[in-house]
Subunit: 189 residues, 2 copies
C-alpha cells in the first residue's frame, strides 16, 4: 500500500533536485569534489566537532560509546583558492521573505569579522525561495551593523548577493563570484 | 609508598615542560589561542572526523551511541595569516636520528602537494630530540621525491628546517618562519 507513495515521493525529489529536494550540504560537497578533481580549488567541509563522553577499546581500537554533537565556532567550509584563504557557510531558509539571523551563531558572526580583518574571503551561501545566493561577508556584516532587524530581507540579498547557477556536473558556480569579491580576474569557470 | 614516586614524576614533567612532558597538540593549541587573542592570525585545529554508527534521541537532542575515529585526509591545522592560507600538522617522533615517513599518511602527502600547487603555505612542525622544527612542505616533498628512504634523517631536518623557540606565554614562534617561507617581510612576532 505504501509502496507507490514512496516511489512518488522519490520522483518528486529528483524533479526538485537542486532546489528543495536535494540537501544543500550535499550540493556544496559535490561542488567541492568537482573543484578538487579539476584542480581548481581545495575546499573541505570541517568535520562536525563532537564532545566525547565515553570511549572503550576493542581489539586495540578506540570505539566511542557516548558523545554529542557540538557547534562549530567557525564556518563549515574553508580552503584555498588561488593562494587565498576562503571560508563560508551554507544556510537554508524556509522563509520566503527574509533570512533569519538566528541561522548564524554569535561566535560565527565574530569569526566572520575576524576573517575580514585578516584579509580572508568569507561569505554565506543562502538558499531562499529555491534559489542560491552568495552574500559577501562584508555585506552581511554591513547589514548587521546598520540595522536592528533580526532577519535580512530577501530584497537585500537580491540586491547585494550574487545569484548562483547550479549545474549537475559542476555544482554551484560560487567561485565565479569569489573571483569578483576577492578581486581576482573575473574569469568564467 | 608510591606517593614520593608520583611527586617525583610530576616534578620531572614540569622540568621538561615544553619538551617531552607537554603534549605537542596542547602546545600548538595554546599558541594558536595566543595568536587569536592578540589578533595576529586565525589558526584552528580541525575537529577529528568521526564515523557515526548509531544515534539516538533524548529530549529531542541527538546523542551518539556508537562511533569511531576516522583519519584526517588533510592536515590538522589550518587558517588565515596576513590574507594567506596556511596549513600544517604537528608530529612527534621518538626516534633521535630520523623522522619516520610513516607518520604522514599517503593522502596527507598528496594534500601537501596540492596546497603547494595552489600557492598555500604548508609545513610540518616536528618535535625530535626535545626540539621543535618547522619543515616547509616544499622541503618535505623534495626529500620524498629525491629519496627512497622511509625516514627523513635528523641532519636533513636541521639543515632545511627552522628550529622553533618555545615561550610559555607566546607558545611556539612558528609564524616567524612562516613570514620567511611565505615571502612576507621578516618581522619579529
Amino acid at each position: 500500500m505504501n509502496y507507490p507513495n514512496k516511489i512518488k515521493r522519490e520522483y518528486h525529489k529528483n524533479v526538485n533536485y537542486a532546489n528543495r529536494g536535494m540537501d544543500l550540504e550535499y550540493i556544496i560537497n559535490e561542488t567541492n569534489e568537482y573543484l578538487l578533481e579539476k584542480d581548481i580549488a581545495l575546499i573541505y567541509k570541517k568535520p562536525t566537532p563532537i564532545g566525547v563522553v565515553k570511549v572503550s577499546y576493542h581489539n586495540n581500537k578506540q570505539v566511542i560509546d557516548k558523545a554529542y554533537f557540538a557547534s562549530q565556532s567557525t564556518l563549515d567550509y574553508n580552503g584555498l583558492y588561488k593562494g587565498k584563504y576562503i571560508e563560508f557557510d551554507a544556510k537554508n531558509t524556509e522563509s520566503k521573505t527574509s533570512f533569519p539571523l538566528s541561522n548564524v551563531h554569535e561566535h560565527q558572526i565574530k569569526h566572520i569579522r575576524n576573517v575580514i580583518k585578516h584579509k580572508g574571503i568569507v561569505f554565506l551561501i543562502i538558499r531562499i525561495n529555491g534559489l542560491f545566493y552568495l552574500l559577501n561577508g562584508t555585506d552581511f556584516i554591513s547589514f548587521i551593523d546598520s540595522s536592528d532587524r533580526k532577519s535580512i530581507p530577501y530584497d537585500y540579498i537580491k540586491e547585494y548577493g550574487y545569484e548562483l547557477e547550479y549545474n549537475y556536473i559542476k555544482g554551484l558556480n560560487y567561485l565565479k563570484y569569489v573571483d569578483i569579491i576577492g578581486g581576482f580576474k573575473n574569469e568564467e569557470i
